[in-house]
């Protein structure tokens, strides 16, 4: 028991130091360092090309529709898995 807890404490402290160091050394909040070409194009042209007044919905369903297709598959798989796991316990 004590050997396992010791290994756990060492690993957790290494990960904690790494996370806090990264959170302080990352770029300041509100000024991304790289240039945003794709998002500028989407903000300028999303209203006339798709006709929607909401830029996030036009990204989710029109510019990146394949990700929404994969997400619908995930929802279907989760419901199928839950129904399958509880099949014997109902009788």
């Amino acid at each position: 028991m004590s050997k396992r807890e010791l290994v756990g404490i060492v690993a957790f402290s290494i990960v904690a130091i790494f996370f806090v160091f990264t959170a302080l050394m990352i770029h300041p909040f509100g000024s991304p360092p790289s240039d945003t070409n794709m998002d500028d194009y989407i903000i300028d042209n999303a209203q006339t090309e798709t006709g929607a007044n909401n830029a996030v919905t036009s990204v989710v369903f029109d510019y990146r529709g394949f990700d929404t297709l994969g997400e619908a598959t995930i929802l279907f798989t989760a419901v199928a898995g839950v129904i399958l796991l509880f099949r014997r316990l109902k009788k």
Partner: protein, 162 residues
Amino acid sequence: MKDEGMSRIVKTITSTIFPFIFIYGLYIIAHGHLTPGGGFQGGAVVASGCVMILVAYGSVWMMKKIKEKNLSVLESLGAIGFIGLAFLGLIFGEVFFSNYFANSKFFLFGEEVTFGVPEFANINTAGILPLMNFAVGLKVIAGLFAIVLIMAYATSKNKEGE
């Protein structure tokens, strides 16, 4: 310990409040292309209202009225609607997910939008986006409600054997 739900006051209040939650969730789904929201967010709101009804009335009574086969059929209808709209884009617009009647003066959802900041936006715009919102909203409602109903029913029958 009987599993018949809660007292009569709770049953009356929840069945009075439930239509308002349902209408609010449908408003969030239907206006997905004008205000923040859309299919997933509105579906989560309506599913929470349905789970409130389930908690008030007991899961044994609920499973007798709504079998999970009907919920599975509803979810599959939503998925078929989503895939069918994508394939119709392939037939009419030569790309898989194309928005083929976005600015084309069709009577259902296709008026023109110019670049600007409107005060009251027009709901009759944006091609296949509202139809996809309805399909995804139906899928999320049926899926989340089926998960909670099956888990609640399976853990309430272990008093007598198995």
